[in-house]
């Protein structure tokens, strides 16, 4: 053994495509489907959600790069009618908003937190794998544990 490091993830300096990829990964894992990414679809979704309960969470330690004039959003829908919107706010922070008819604020908050955690995990996974492969590491094994932890073992042979 050489060292053990515990690292806290930062979603800083990330581009919108990387956030979208992580949101899509979290959506697949939690059984959501992409409802709209285009501006028109989002406008229609906003009209509908006006009568629903909604909860908004800011993703911790996030700062997404992009043009402040361009609204960047992805709308996802769960089977039970809960809708999740991931967007970049005016300050560049990544925000997750969960809404749904007949759902309490507590239920929506719990769902938004679960989605945010999974999205962060997907973001970190994508980033770590890309950077390690670029450094010449080979993936020896990869598995998801019962507690949802992703365990990855990589190896590099020194020349």
């Amino acid at each position: 053994m050489s060292a053990i490091l515990i690292l806290t993830p930062l979603i800083i300096g990330a581009g919108w495509p990387a956030v979208t990829a992580a949101a899509a990964g979290a959506a697949v894992a939690l059984g959501l489907t992409v409802r709209a990414t285009a501006r028109e679809g989002i406008a229609a979704a906003e009209e509908e959600t006006a009568v629903k309960n909604s909860v908004e969470l800011e993703v911790k330690n996030s700062e997404v790069l992009g043009n402040v004039r361009t609204e960047q959003q992805i709308v996802l829908r769960a089977k039970d009618g809960v809708e999740v919107r991931v967007k970049r706010d005016a300050r560049g922070r990544c925000v997750v908003c969960a809404s749904g008819k007949g759902k309490t604020k507590a239920e929506l908050k719990a769902f938004a937190e679960q989605f945010t955690d999974r999205m962060t995990q997907c973001f970190v996974y994508n980033r770590v794998m890309t950077e390690l492969k670029a450094k010449g590491f080979q993936v020896m094994s990869e598995e998801r544990a019962k507690d949802e932890t992703m365990n990855i073992r990589v190896r590099q042979w020194e020349a």
Partner: protein, 68 residues
């Protein structure tokens, strides 16, 4: 050829535990800094005995004897 093994655990909240194996001395710190740059900030770091072992270095010593 020496090998470097890295075990990475990404928790469901995105916190990352990196276990470096076979990386000694300064190389270990360098790789740790790289991982911190990729993931975020270091919450804790624990160095193990292997860290203090000297880094392996290969050297060839050439000698030429001159005949009289």
């Amino acid at each position: 050829m020496p090998q470097r093994d890295v075990e990475i655990s990404i928790s469901k909240t995105g916190e990352v535990k990196v276990h470096l194996k076979g990386i000694k001395g300064k190389s270990c710190l360098k790789f740790g800094a790289f991982m911190a740059e990729v993931v975020g900030k270091v919450k804790s770091q624990q160095l193990t005995s292997e860290f203090y072992e000297p880094e392996e270095k290969a050297a060839i010593r050439l000698e030429q004897k001159q005949g009289k």
